[in-house]
Amino acid sequence: MGKTRIIAETGAGQHGVATATACALLGVECVVYMGTEDMRRQKPNVERMGLMGAKVEPVDAGARTLKEAVSAAIRDWVANVADTHYVIGSAVGPAPFPALVRDLQRVIGDEARAQALESIGRLPSRVIACVGGGSNAIGIFVPFAGDPEVALVGVEAAGDGIETGRHGAPLTLGGRGGVLHGAYSAIMQDEDGQILEAHSISAGLDYPGTGPEHAHLRDTGRARYVAVTDAQALAAFQRVAKLEGIVPALESSHAIAWALGPGADEVRGESGHVDLICLSGRGDKDLAEALAAIGRSE
């Protein structure tokens, strides 16, 4: 492609770290846009990116989170398209970005499907994944889309509660679709079509839009979308740490919270039920933020 410079945006910092890692390996210049609020709450990932030689470009507009980071990266890309490739971090943005990200992320679903058949000799009853922009979810859903016996459940951020307006759950909320970052999908917007600010304790789900293929899966009925609050996600974060010795990312904790809570209630008494949860990220990056929030709630 002849591109000598890589840019990316990141919310939780995972995608920024991955991009910085690849650029360090290849010796390519790397700039990662990140909202200053996300830089504060995902500091370990900011430090990792810096260690690997990437430049983290702070974005101070709006709520200083993922939406503004995507906007800043798109503005950079249109200005520097001759030498710059934009490695977008979620299944969002103008075509063909959502399809590119889906096809690269589906390695998660292909491997999970093969491992399920190998280890339990059958497909799972449900596949459950958190949805912000929706990259991990679309990656794990797609290989199961042709298996009608497998239910697909996307878990969005209800933040302080859907009814408060402080959430990141456009798919669960429903309503009129709209255009954000060059894609028509489910978005949070007001009457005039202004995009609303999202809220979630997890930086990766703190986004008022979602990947267009998720809106399609919802509208065709192939997948369903639900939401859990900050408090529910935090409780799941603690519970999995105690039970399994695994510290999940706050994003992934939303998927776990639904599976252990409302999702478990739905299938209580059913025999042979198997859930496959996408543990999309590790929670080391979230420790300071999560422990502070747990402290406040106790």
Partner: protein
Amino acid sequence: MSTATDTGVERIAAAFAGAAGRAALMPYLMGGFPDVETSARIGEAYADNGADLVELGVPFSDPLADGPVIHAAGTRALEAGSSLHRVLEVGARLAHRLPVVLMCYANPILARGVERFADELAVRRISGLIVPDLPLEEAPAVLAACDEAGIALVPLAAPTTPEDRLAAIGARARGFLYTVSVTGTTGERSGGDAAALIARVKASTAAPVALGFGISTPEQARAAADAGADGVIVGSRLVRAAAEAADAGEDPAAAVAAVVAALAAGLVR
């Protein structure tokens, strides 16, 4: 002289034709910045100081095509209570003076419904519509609604637009073809040779070709006109002048008047 029964397409065509011997000057204005009333007076100052048309921006939460100056003005306009309705009312007021071309991102148009949106422009005698994030492939519904209402849907072309796509854009241009002089967002810049780009775009369309993005000085405006542009659009320079005046407690309308007059003088061939 246009009459009350002219369509938007006709009013824009008359404005370009009336600028015979020079390029038409189209200053940009952020609707509702620094407040609704002052923004209307800024537009009137444009009309009084040599503008042939005015581009009226609708502030949007996520203005992807805009650089920092216009982005900040849009954010401040929304905080000061600007809204689509209020900007359309500013447009109606300015339409008594000169043709108004509205610049609005796609989502507010979809939220209102494309037919209703086009009708709301027509009843206020707003002449044209620029949608910076509406790609060619998604344009047919908006174009049909605008054609029905007599509103010129003005498409954009960039230095990166390939020939076949430019031909398709040029064929369905109404009013004029907005040519983005540089890759990137709105904002003041130096350098760049637009002559080859303008020639390429002019070959693609029967509509007038207006050059925008990055033009801020009378010299740059003159260079664009000399390179063959039928019109010149100046945005960030004027929005910055309005912002600096507002921040200093001075009258933004007076501040932009001098800048527009200098730009207009630069376009006399």
